[in-house]
Symmetry: none
Subunit: 197 residues, 4 copies
DNA sequence: CATGAATGAGGCTTCATTCAT
DNA sequence: GATGAATGAAGCCTCATTCAT
């Protein structure tokens, strides 16, 4: 734990995180053994435990890194934007693109939520995501741009639509991320009802 | 397999399905051993293998039953309704209520999607759900009631909002299912934009 | 844990305790693997864990059984005797004989004292042994038969001489247990000084 | 092996022996890893294997040093004394004091006896101790000062009483070493019987 | 139908030791 | 002399599954 790593060591650790997370996503966390991971890398089993305290610990690291990556992408997406509605829309687009680009991490996050020991991490990340979106939503409501509704509910709904469409359309049906983002944004803006008049 | 079961046998099998699914949901599928299941029921291990070919087989049965249950609830909800929009709304409400009432099955479905061997079942179920909703959505679009958009996309978005709000608000934050259904319906109808002047 | 065992099961458990304790004594606790134990018995590894929660738990059971056995031997030895001095002497003889007959358990007790996790058991057993001897020693002092000295100290010294001579002379040098008992009793009675006058 | 050590090297080696022996005594030989030892000293693993061929080799060194230390203490204790009985008594006192002062080494010696690979060292040391005491005991018997009994038996009994009282009273119950030495000497002199007449 | 017992592959982890730098 | 990194055998334990009764 908390070793001082040389350059080579840092590299190894990254390799492990990457290989492991991909295998976890493909074959399942429980189904992927530590042996399988180190074999894939062509190293001895000790290497794994030199860099991580346990298989669990590695998984947690993967989850935290993933959440950080997604959050970073969202932040960058709204960096130069000041209109609340457009901020939200850029956030949706950035999220869907990130999920499309890191689909193995997406899968892992979904799995993690189903295991008592990892669930808290995922939930914390989602609360964070809601908290990140909240100010923009609230600002939109205050400015009369968004529907008068509990901003938390709106934020959660937006996240739900994004994640679900990303998975269903992009990951499972191979749709284009950009176009799915368009659809998600449209749905979030206006729902399914035909515009009046 | 396909045994002729006595009355008592049918009862036993149900007990097994119920106890196992709850334990799977709480502790995880891999983390719950067959031993733990039969111990909880106070029976020997032979009982388990008398009614099921394997742990996997039981899990599959649980998933299928769950999907059937949800579908049945949706069907009943729209039984007397002919307006396509209202049908969709009733479906949303019924889904959220069912997920709230059977949260352990909800959790299991989410987990199942993350394991190669169960994922096909879940995906099939979701395709079915989309297929079930599709006619109503298409009818709505045709009738000019719904926004001109790929009906499949609309259907998926609706399902995503329902499931996500159910989990986030009802399961994780303990909100009232009925009120969450209201919010979900509102969001699906109009999105987050404020109605135009 | 706490299983209901059939006759056959009880037998198996005894076999495991016996084989394991002998292997522990000969090769050391840490050096004897669970695999080695079950291999010796020609059974699968699961058998071990059917009867014991862990290797530690088995060891503890062995220690407790050993202590009980020694104590039982001592009790029987003094059963019909009322003179305090003779009681002590019979106790010494019984102990040395038991240690000679169960030398593998003797060795295990000595080892157990050197491991933090087993030491409490051994210490408790020794306190019990001192407590068992104390009334007789105290009675002897009161009756003026024994030297006026803290009875606890006397009891401990007696136990020390018995155990040490048993190990040094009987186990390591192959002396006859009975004759060693004679010597131990003589030493405990009179020490090493030549009788005066 | 047999390296020419610089001054600093000699120091390092001593540190290793000291730290390791204390950790072995506290946590057990098997339970204390080489990693734990070098970590405690804040050095790399290479250091360990620079000074010792193996963990076993270090342990053997510790045992030999301990035996030498105890023997040296005994020798110094009887240096100026010519009366055989008093020599023995001083030896008892010196032993108990040394064991009290180096209780971690005492514990290690006891453990070492329980492992086939270290047992020969311990046994050799004890034979040496008996051999050291023998001339004095024999002289005492010849001079009519000690009871007519096999001198080896007497010597072993004396060692047994000393070691056992040291452990039981000093180490485990925290008694004062000097007073325990008094009691040990008294017991060895006269046993437990009340003086006649 | 049901139970206690058994199997044995395989999982995670530790650790003495060695090596490249 | 010393370090971080790597090795890989071996250890303890779990668990889905099967079998004898």
């Amino acid at each position: 734990m908390a070793r001082r790593l040389t350059e080579r060591g840092t590299q190894r650790k990254k390799e492990l995180l990457d290989v492991a997370s991909r295998m976890f996503a493909t074959d399942g966390y429980h189904t992927t053994s530590v042996t399988a991971i180190v074999d894939r890398l062509g190293v001895g089993k000790g290497v794994f435990y030199w860099y991580f305290d346990s298989k669990d610990a590695l998984m947690r690291q993967v989850l935290l890194d993933a959440q950080q990556g997604l959050r970073q992408a969202q932040r960058e997406a709204i960096a130069g934007e000041h209109d609340p509605v457009r901020r939200i829309e850029q956030g949706i687009r950035a999220s869907i693109e990130w999920l499309s680009d890191h689909r193995h991490l997406f899968a892992l996050l979904e799995f993690a939520r189903t295991e008592e020991r990892f669930a808290p991490i995922v939930r914390a990340g989602e609360e964070q995501a809601v908290a990140d979106a909240l100010p923009h939503v609230a600002a939109g409501v205050t400015a009369g741009l968004l529907r008068r509704e509990d901003p938390t509910v709106l934020a959660i709904a937006v996240l739900g639509v994004s994640a679900h469409l990303a998975r269903s359309l992009v990951l499972e049906r191979g749709a284009n991320a950009d176009r799915v983002a368009d659809a998600a944004i449209a749905f979030c803006r206006s729902g399914f009802l035909a515009p009046k008049g």
